[in-house]
């Protein structure tokens, strides 16, 4: 009668029970069913354990010394944990009024003593179903959040992220009086590539280009976003004007030297760079993100006009 449902992932259960015999029995029985089991003698001990070893499943007795099961339910619900905690309350009380009190305190399910092992395992299965739903939902939300700030073609950040995060970077630079560099770069004659080789090759070129940029910046500090069709923005915290020029020039040379192998043959490209920079204490004391972008855009336009494949910034050409 006690066929246990196989428990593939290791699920941790915290058993909270003041009677040592029941506690030991539950430990043995649940381990046999494939759970990882921890045990506590009352609510207070249970909270301590949870803080150090999170368990998504909690089975708790109601009547216990120190902190009883009802108070434990309330305490668990008051704190935020790394995931949902599914609580099964076990008790010899079984009046309707008691059941309502238990559920209102935050229990998800309710079992009366004596607890039949098969029933307890089935209830735990229900709990796991709910926890799995919660995990899937959380993963999906994270994925959606990631997608909403990612450019689908190149995998780098998109314009939405740029708009939101550039504001944060500018504010931080102002507050801590740190320099901030911004590069806007645009592929030269990209339309020709699309017209000559088709959009598939054009997409490939954009991906390669984005990959080179991504590979040349400081991970975790600098970041880059696709601004428009073939326009990219690099944001360089803690980088002054000279540093911004250095990087832009390095990137310009790298792009001009690389060869992209495409189904239509090898392609070489060049790019033009415009720089905007914020230096604390400088005359431009409160740059708005749009001001920085416009400034870089104007310099990029100058780079295009003066022959492309070059870097232009506030102090002149390089």
């Amino acid at each position: 009668m006690n066929r246990d449902a196989p428990c593939q992932d290791e699920w941790s259960i915290l058993v909270v029970e003041d009677h040592p015999a029941t506690r030991q029995f539950m430990k043995l029985r649940l381990r046999k069913a494939g759970y990882r089991v921890m045990a506590a003698g009352d609510g207070r001990e249970a909270l301590e354990i949870l803080k150090h070893h999170f368990c998504p499943l909690v089975i708790t007795d109601w009547m216990m010394p120190e902190m009883d099961g009802l108070d434990l339910c309330r305490a668990i619900r008051q704190e935020s944990w790394e995931g949902y905690v599914y609580i099964i309350l076990i008790t010899a009380k079984d009046s309707q009024e008691d059941i309502v009190r238990g559920l209102e305190a935050g229990a998800d399910d309710y079992l009366s003593k004596p607890v039949h092992p098969a029933e307890l395992l089935a209830r735990l299965q229900t709990g796991r179903r709910i926890l799995e739903l919660e995990r899937t939902l959380k993963e999906r939300n994270q994925e959606i959040a990631r997608l909403s700030i990612t450019d689908p073609l190149t995998g780098i950040y998109n314009r939405r992220y740029l708009n939101d995060t550039l504001t944060v970077e500018v504010r931080r630079a102002l507050r801590y009086k740190r320099p901030l560099g911004l590069l806007l770069c645009d592929l030269d004659h990209f339309k020709r590539i699309n017209d000559t080789y088709g959009h598939n090759v054009g997409d490939l070129v954009l991906k390669e280009f984005a990959g080179w940029l991504q590979g040349s910046i400081r991970g975790g500090i600098d970041w880059l976003a696709r601004y428009g069709g073939e326009e990219f923005v690099l944001v360089l915290p803690e980088t002054d004007l000279a540093g911004s020029f250095d990087l832009a020039e390095r990137l310009r040379r790298l792009v001009a030297e690389k060869v992209i192998a495409t189904p239509a043959g090898d392609i070489t490209i060049t790019a033009s760079f415009g720089i905007a920079s914020f230096t604390p204490g400088g005359p431009e004391n409160h740059p708005a993100p749009e001001t920085l972008l416009n400034e870089a855009d104007q310099f990029m336009y100058q780079a295009k006009k003066s022959g492309r494949n070059r870097v232009v910034g506030p102090t002149g050409n390089q």
Partner: protein, 105 residues
């Protein structure tokens, strides 16, 4: 008491059940002592708590006779009629002794 059968019903091994019963009996000594003192002193809340503890564990381990006696004592404590409870206390002590012998066999 049928150890094999109880173990099967609870879904644990025979040796595991013996281990759990040993722990139960150890705890029961304390519960029984508390009960005896509380009944003599007519301390209803202490008697009730000790009987409740014993009842819960006995129920979970399928020890129905022990659980029934503990429940009667818990009720008596609740209703304030501990005076006649010595008889039940004696029955309970005997049942626990039987159990001790059963697991030592």
């Amino acid at each position: 008491m049928d150890i094999e059968n109880t173990a099967r019903n609870l879904g644990i091994g025979r040796d595991e059940l013996l281990e759990v019963l040993e722990i139960f009996l150890e705890a029961s000594v304390a519960d029984l002592e508390a009960l005896t003192e509380a009944v003599a002193a007519e301390d209803r809340s202490r008697a009730g708590a000790a009987a409740h503890s014993l009842k819960g564990a006995a129920l979970n381990l399928g020890l129905t006779e022990v659980a029934d006696l503990a429940r009667t004592l818990e009720m008596a404590a609740k209703d304030g009629v501990l005076l006649g409870a010595e008889g039940q206390l004696k029955d309970l002590r005997e049942k626990l002794q039987d159990l001790t012998q059963a697991i030592q066999a």
